[in-house]
Amino acid sequence: MSDLDTFRQEIRAWLEENCPPEMREPVRDDDDACWGGRNFTFKNEAQKVWLERCVAKGYTVPDWPKAYGGAGMSAAEAKIWREEMVRINARPPLSSFGIWMLGPALLKFGTEEQKVHYLGQIARGEIRWCQGYSEPGSGSDLVSLQTFGEDKGDHWVVNGQKIWTSYANKADWIFCLVRTDKTNKYQGISFLLFDMTTPGVSTKPIKLISGSSPFCETFFDNVVVPKDQIVGQLNRGWDVAKYLLGHEREMISATGGADRAGSLGATLGRNGALEDPVLRAQVALFDVDALAFTCMSEKFMDEVKIGRGHPAQPNMMKYAGTELNKARLELLMSAGGSTALEWESEETEGGALPRSWLRTKANSIEGGTSEVMLNVISKRILELPGA
């Protein structure tokens, strides 16, 4: 038996023993996810136990080094970990922008001290992070951002406003793009970290068309940020941001991918929603695209692991994955008929479907619009002129 087979058996046995049955139920909404942080309230004991057990083994971030709270798994081992998690439908022990976004950036750009400190907190689910990127005047054209950090010797004083800050009202810390040089557009931005309880930070939730408020406006009024809370070099925050956006795009593209591997038609067919032959045909064509995209996701991940594949490929994944997810919800709405219009009834769990449908419209806007993705593919992959 190869080492990897042995490893798989160990993981399988550990999961069997340690993953509580409640944590093998599908995640229905954000409330079911464990986000960690100072103010997090566990939904139940199983969620808490599952997190603690994984933290103890480094399994919240299996492929991070042990010194930073991970389990030090190789790429092949991490794949086995994911496969075994999927096999028993285990929920992720911890959902976190720290894991998905800040962590990879710190691993690449952070100092040793920062890695030990911040990565450890992320791995243990102690600090919940949010991301301060977009501003009211800087959406797709992110690099035009205006939030300014004035140099005061041993600290900056930050003033400005961010928007679309996911869960800013629930987050403990923020990683934030701040202009530190007004004379240089690209090389005048720094990547700063600071505590959301710092005086001068305030948040205001934004009510969306889905009725929920996962995003906030975030205001900075003379916020003091010590100089050691910068990631990467002064004025080179754009490099960190670009790197991190790559991870964000991978994460968003994944929502159209492996976690929705099941056939849409199989689900709808069971509910008798496919009597209309034209709708059934549309669903079948969608399933072709959806199943094909699961192959693409698998290939993409395999290539990432060996450093193959075009560095701009996450943009393609993000584009294709989010468009697919939008198409999926359109079909679910059509199949649902007038039931899918119910916004508040108990039978529809408070209009879960129409709310999800509306939520997916943001998929192709947040983290770079589909149009920006196509621009990047044109320029960096196809090398079309003037793009």
């Binding site: 045909a281 064509l285 399933d287 072709v288 094909a292 192959c295 621009n375 044109s378 079309l384």
Partner: protein, 379 residues
């Protein structure tokens, strides 16, 4: 198994890429044989070169004199055949024919496999009856007669049928037209009495036959596999052929895409390169994404088929449908982005469109296979 070629597969793909870019080019093969109105629709000299490269018998078992390779490897060859629009009997002979003969008697193998492997013989496959691919319904009948069978019926879209040394025919030996059981595969030799060809040139310049079988006498040794139990073997041949066609389609698509993006970088209008226009950039970028997804899907299906996975049937259907959808978009966008010259015979892009059309129809179009995906998914 990771979704990229391993070292051996990459080496094979490299050598085939060079070989076909040179020897299998549009100028040397497709245009040449088309312009001389070749009755076979392909070149025998190149087929002999395929044999010298070891490609003709790549799917045959080593015990049968082949290389014992799989669909990933055959797909690497077909992708390059597609890129170069190379007219070749490879798909029908070395993929479908060899897959069928894999379950034939030693006697039947001996009759055809050495000739195929040597590049001296080609095989055709006769499945379709009517203009659309509907292999669930087979009406051509072979009745028992003495020690053998007597075959009657009609088959359509038999690619390179008139050039083939043998035609592998799916016929009904019992039951009614739409029964799953009662199918038998036969290897019908070229010179059998009662075989009639109405051979026609197709849109892509390939030759295909409407074949009639009029009381064709076959002895028992012409049977491939089990009498009445041929559906499973037929499905195996179909899976190999469909996935091969899908691989070839991704090659056609990549060839069309490359010449189109090259054109976007050289053609000027309104004082600028047309590739600078965002309207075209976004369409090209969308197409890129579709082609990447189709490639990944075809490779996944190849790996599943080679591994004998129970998921292979579903993923082959997904692959043929997705490759069809993506390659169709590639050639349509290709012609449109070429503008007026895209309509001329002088430019190659139109040849890609024609080849894609034929491959799309071969062994089921994207609608047939989307329907298959629905059925296999239980709805």
């Amino acid at each position: 198994m990771p979704l990229y070629l391993n070292e051996d597969q990459a080496m094979l793909a490299d050598s085939v890429t060079g070989f076909l870019a040179d020897e299998g080019s549009i100028k040397k093969q497709l245009r040449h044989y088309r312009d001389i109105n070749c009755k076979d629709g392909f070149g025998h000299a190149l087929w002999k070169q395929f044999a010298e490269m070891g490609l003709t018998g790549m799917l045959a078992a080593e015990a049968d004199g082949g290389l014992g390779l799989g669909h990933v490897e055959a797909g690497a060859v077909l992708k390059q055949i597609g890129r170069n629009l190379t007219p070749s009997p490879f798909l029908t002979t070395s993929v479908m024919g060899v897959t069928a003969l894999g379950e034939a008697s030693a006697d039947l193998k001996g009759r055809y496999l050495p000739g195929v492997i040597a590049g001296d013989m080609v095989l055709a496959v006769a499945i379709d009856e009517g203009a659309k691919h509907r292999p669930e319904r087979i009406a051509a009948r072979a009745e028992r007669s003495g020690n053998g069978f007597r075959l009657s019926g009609r088959k359509d879209f038999v690619v390179q049928g008139a050039s083939a040394d043998a035609i592998i025919v799916a016929a009904r030996t019992s039951g009614s037209d739409s029964d799953a059981d009662g199918i038998t595969l036969f290897a019908v030799p070229k010179d059998a009495a009662g075989v009639g060809h109405n051979s026609v040139r197709l849109v892509d310049s390939a030759m295909a036959s409407h074949v009639t079988f009029d009381n064709v006498e076959l002895d028992g040794s012409a049977v491939i596999g089990e009498v009445d139990g041929g559906r499973a073997l037929l499905n195996k041949v179909l899976a190999a052929g469909r996935l091969g066609a899908a691989a070839e389609q991704t090659g056609v698509a990549s060839g069309a895409f490359d010449i189109t993006t090259t054109y976007l970088k050289t053609r000027k209008q309104f004082g600028q390169l047309i590739g600078e226009f965002q309207a075209l950039q976004h369409r090209a970028a969308h197409l890129y994404s579709e082609l990447e997804i189709a490639d990944a899907t075809v490779m996944k299906a190849q790996q599943l088929l080679d591994a004998g996975s129970e998921k292979a049937e579903l993923m082959v259907a997904v692959a043929k449908a997705k490759a069809g959808k993506a390659s169709s978009l590639a050639v349509r966008e290709g012609v449109q982005m070429h503008g007026g010259v895209g309509m001329t015979d002088e430019f190659d892009i139109g040849l890609y469109m024609k080849r894609e059309r034929a491959l799309a129809e071969f062994l089921g179009d994207q609608y047939y296979h989307a329907q298959k995906v629905a059925e296999l998914s239980g709805y």
